[in-house]
């Protein structure tokens, strides 16, 4: 490689880097961004720093963030296979969310799979002027007549909220009219909230209201669990399915990778909820607990060690020796290939550096995989995380709710009169806590970042380039919009929203896949090829000697 290790040594202190990032901004922007760039102070489990997050992006600053509609339809509801997603609005919003996130689906024995379809009311000017409710009702009828789905979900885009279409009333009347199709709607207009995060919350609320608990037909199987916040990008959920099945654990619902309507409708029958993406689904995990008595634990199936740890947590929760033993067997068996892969690549990955700016959980989850490769994370942050995702849930009582968050409905949940049943007694829960199974707990990203690293919220394009220029990481991880500017700089880039073309990276097989993918990226010869021979040696010295 042309670039030597010596030239890569980070000479900048984090304070210098932070100052450099802010230098070019107008004063108001600099003041605001300064609060969103935190120098991590504590590596010993707790963090004494505080970051500003979940605040408005500054207009004109090229952000990585998307909108509430993207969070609601694109991320949370999109991966469900047998609910028809109907976008109520002009054509664009539906078009851009059409098959672009690499959520894999399997049509299953029932054959229902609407993922390859983009369905929209394609609002025209007259709909904006005269209102779109009639068109929406007719669209629902037309879809029903063509496809006969068991459920249709309606997503409101910006103009719908502005012109005041009552999508919920239309959905309700169509549910009554159709009889065997549950039609429900999301007021997830793009201007709500400050990022995708508001859309997650809205999705949680409506799924809870309209689908959860709709089916009391008993779910068969042992050790019933919900996996919340796993979207099956690149087949991640399929790998987790494989592992859980091997352990004998029954998955009631995956919210929402390859999920079905009935999985959502029966999720209240599970005995444990596992939260994968804390940011996007912690709401429904809480609701399932309050309503039905299902406790939740935080899990992480990204990274082989985290996967093993998560499986052990589940087994410990069920307090059944059969399951505990089976889980150990599975871990033992699966780790063989993982360890071989790690041995294969570690010689080339050890000591290399990376930066991670993804999502609202992934920037944290993937640290584990990079640890397994012996790599160092120089800087990381979320696109739409909240303070609890950075610093842990213990900060929740101290969070200030601003005007933008207040606009997002917070639904009050009561224990279900008939179906509330605590899965464990207070004593059992306390004993489990004591043995290390923590409930409703998430420690956040900061404790897993080294001291004096930079944690940056809502990183923007300018800061991303500056970081790469100053700190010269060996690898940069973010999304499609960041990919090619970073690569133009000769730095390998891995997309961690939808993985470019790879995956799965979850579970054991996913970990091995990831090791090889990172090895490929770090060993690529991009930098070697940048200069042509005449650029390396531009001086002409003497005449060419023909042989």
């Amino acid at each position: 490689m042309a670039t030597s290790t010596a030239s890569k040594k980070v000479q900048w202190t984090p304070t210098d880097v932070k100052a450099e990032l802010l230098k070019k901004y107008p004063p108001k922007v600099a003041r605001k961004r300064a609060k969103q760039i935190m120098i991590n102070e504590a590596a010993d489990g707790g963090s004494s720093s505080q970051i500003t997050e979940n605040v408005r992006t500054i207009p004109g600053i090229i952000t990585m963030r998307g909108c509430t509609y993207a969070g609601c339809n694109g991320v949370l509801m999109g991966p469900t296979r047998d609910i028809v997603n109907l976008v109520h609005g002009p054509i664009g919003c539906g078009f851009y969310a059409w098959l672009t996130r690499r959520n894999q689906t399997d049509a299953g024995p029932d054959g229902e799979n609407y993922i390859p379809y983009c369905i929209s009311t394609d609002m025209q000017e007259q709909d904006i002027i005269f209102g779109g409710e009639k068109k929406l009702a007719l669209a629902i009828q037309e879809i029903y007549d063509i496809m006969h789905p068991k459920s249709i979900a309606v997503f409101s885009t910006c103009p719908v909220g502005l012109i005041g279409d009552d999508v919920h009333a239309v959905a309700k009347s169509m549910t009554e009219k159709l009889g065997d199709c549950n039609v429900f709607a999301f007021s997830c207009e793009g201007y709500k909230g400050v990022s995708q995060s508001a859309g997650h919350h809205i999705a949680n609320n409506q799924v809870y209201r309209h689908v959860i608990g709709e089916n009391d037909e008993p779910v068969k199987g042992e050790y019933k669990v919900n996996l919340l916040g796993e979207y099956n990008i690149g087949g991640d959920a399929f790998e987790i399915d494989r592992i859980l099945e091997k352990c004998g654990i029954t998955l009631t619902l995956t919210f929402s990778g390859n999920a079905t309507y009935d999985q959502f409708a029966t999720a209240h029958q599970a005995d444990l909820s596992m939260v994968m993406c804390h940011r996007s689904v912690n709401y429904i995990a809480d609701m399932l607990e309050t309503s039905f008595g299902i406790p939740w634990i935080k899990v992480n199936f990204i990274g082989a060690n985290s996967t093993a740890k998560s499986l052990r947590k589940i087994a410990a929760y069920f307090e059944d020796q059969k399951l505990i033993d089976r889980v150990e067997e599975v871990i033992c068996e699966e780790m063989l290939d993982v360890e071989t892969a790690a041995r294969d690549v570690r010689g080339r990955t050890e000591g290399k550096t990376a930066m991670l700016f993804v999502g609202g959980s992934r920037a944290h989850h993937y640290i584990e995989l990079f640890n397994e490769l012996g790599m160092k994370i120089l800087s990381s942050g979320y696109e739409f995380g909240h303070r609890d995702d950075y610093e842990g849930r213990q900060v929740l009582p101290t969070l200030k709710v601003d005007a933008d968050s207040r606009n997002i409905e917070e639904i009050e949940v009561e224990p279900d009169e008939k179906r509330y049943k605590p899965r464990k007694s207070e004593e059992q829960l306390a004993a489990l806590e004591k043995s290390g199974v923590k409930f409703k707990e998430y420690e956040g990203l900061a404790p897993d970042m080294e001291e004096n690293t930079l944690i940056i919220d809502d990183l923007n394009q300018y800061e991303a380039e500056k970081l790469v220029e100053l700190m010269k990481p060996d690898l940069f991880c973010a999304g499609i919009k960041e990919k090619f500017s970073i690569m133009k700089m000769g730095v390998p880039m891995k997309m961690l929203h939808n993985y470019d073309s790879g995956g799965p990276y979850a579970g054991f097989k996913g970990a091995a896949n990831f090791y090889y993918e990172i090895d490929r990226l770090l060993s690529s010869n991009v930098r070697e090829n940048l200069k042509a021979p005449w650029q390396e040696n531009p001086e002409l010295t003497g005449a060419y000697v023909w042989e």
Partner: protein, 457 residues
């Protein structure tokens, strides 16, 4: 089957669009704006619009797409987006230092009635636009037209730069339409070969097909410069390629600076290229170069040599109106039968034009403007075809119906080359024909029995 819920029976649909053959205006405006040198496109709306458009263009071009947004929140949607846009303009000029900000609206800012010219005026009064820097704006409501309309509207906004002085510059303006950077390069090459001095706007060549150098330049070397855009008012004439993409801008320029214009089809295929070259020759008063004549001859040679493979082959095609019109003409030149023709963009004149092109042929043609891929698929189920021409979304139909797919148009998300190899002009015609023949003959080889499998085709 991936599209297993698409029935063969075609029912009437009045309200629902399924699998669109179009997207919304702003993405077209963003693409057009990237064809101005030193320009940062700005999306006046929610963050999501900008994020989606950048992602869509990035996936198609595999190049960085920079654009900023007014980041509307609920407050801005209630009180108007002026404060956001003013702050945005100030931040953009301070941090990214573009020469131009090209603002387009969204359905959000259009519905609340934000007035771009008024906000621009306010920005000027408040000194937020530095000396020598520019802000242009286009109204691009997503609930009208399609991405093509948005492209056209932004190109029309570029006419704002044009200035008429007393001296003509001797140049011909070429508005290339929404084509690939490679196509824009090819059109310029053809003009150069013909000896015509041109100003092309917009021009994304050198912006969206740039090299890897180890350095990221937010504003690459390519793009039409402000000087060139100003000078368009002094040109001898304008060739607008594509009625949908380019005509509005050309007519606006004619009105403003008395630069006469001629609207042509985008030069895809033999005949449209012939008309383009012939018009260039006429307006510039020059004779066509031997090199172009030679290239034309090569295309005629190849299509004659291979007529047996293309003759009477049925084709289904979906795409943008200007593209599809020229392609249908080319397919007819090849003896092929474009039996199902769809564009997502509205416009009855599209249907009329396709019917005119196919009127003397002995096959029936299904044609629809404001159609969708769901309808195209149903047509194919009812009357199967030998070839599908569509953007990448066509691959789901192609797989289900086992039809070869020529990826052509926007967006192409799963194959490479469109940025680098043109499909316009005679050279581009050769490439299109090569691809069509490759698909048809691969299919023939795949489907031939061992007895009928042949070495020489």
């Amino acid at each position: 089957m991936l599209l297993r819920h698409t029935p063969k029976e075609i029912g009437e649909r009045k309200a629902v669009n399924i699998n669109p053959a179009k997207t919304c205006q702003p993405v077209g405006a963003m693409y057009a704006a990237l064809g101005i040198h030193g320009c940062l496109p700005h999306s006046h709306g929610s963050q999501g619009c900008c994020s989606y458009h950048r992602s869509a263009l990035t996936r198609h071009y595999k190049e960085p797409i920079s654009a900023s947004t007014s980041s509307f929140t609920e407050g801005a949607s209630v009180f108007g987006g002026q404060a956001n846009l003013l702050q945005g303009i100030n931040n953009i000029f301070s941090v990214y230092e573009p020469d131009v900000i090209a603002i387009h609206t969204t359905c959000l800012s259009e519905t609340i009635g934000d007035d771009l010219p008024q906000i621009k005026k306010k920005a000027e009064q408040e000194g937020k636009i530095p000396e020598g820097k520019y802000v242009i704006g286009a109204s691009t409501p997503s609930y009208q037209g399609s991405h093509v309309t948005g492209f056209s509207n932004m190109v029309k906004a570029m006419v704002d730069f044009s200035e008429k002085t007393d001296t003509k510059n001797g140049k011909v303006n070429i508005i290339p339409g929404w084509v690939e950077p490679s196509d824009m390069e090819e059109i310029k090459r053809m003009a150069k070969l013909t000896g015509v001095d041109t100003i092309m706007f917009p021009d994304t060549s050198g912006v969206l097909n740039g090299p890897m150098t180890g350095e990221y330049k937010m504003f690459p070397a390519g793009g039409t410069t402000i000087e060139e855009l100003k000078s368009t008012g002094d040109s001898v004439g304008t060739l607008a390629l594509g009625e949908w993409c380019s005509a509005d801008a050309a007519r606006t320029l004619d009105k403003k600076c008395k630069v006469p214009c001629k609207v042509l089809d985008i030069p895809f295929g033999l005949k449209a290229t012939d008309r383009f070259v012939d018009t260039m020759r006429t307006v510039a008063g020059v004779s066509v170069s031997d090199e172009l004549v030679y290239e034309r001859g090569q295309l005629v040679d190849m299509l004659t040599d291979n007529h047996q493979w293309t003759y009477k082959k049925k084709v289904a095609i979906a795409g943008d109106p200007d593209h599809v019109i020229a392609m249908v003409e080319f397919l007819l030149t090849l003896g092929m039968e474009p039996v199902h023709v769809v564009t997502g963009t509205p416009g009855k004149k599209f249907e009329k034009r396709i019917k005119e092109l196919t009127k003397d042929k002995d096959f029936e043609v299904n044609v629809k403007a404001r159609g969708d891929l769901f309808l195209l698929h149903q047509w194919i189920k009812n009357e199967p075809v030998d070839l599908l021409i569509c953007n990448t979304y066509g691959k789901y139909i192609a797989r289900d119906e086992d039809v070869p797919l020529l990826r052509w148009g926007f967006p192409i998300l799963d194959r490479q080359g469109h940025q680098y190899f043109p499909t316009v002009g005679y050279k581009g015609g050769l490439r299109l024909l090569e691809k069509i023949l490759g698909l048809l003959l691969d299919r023939k080889d795949r489907d031939s029995s061992e007895t009928k499998f042949e070495l020489v085709l």
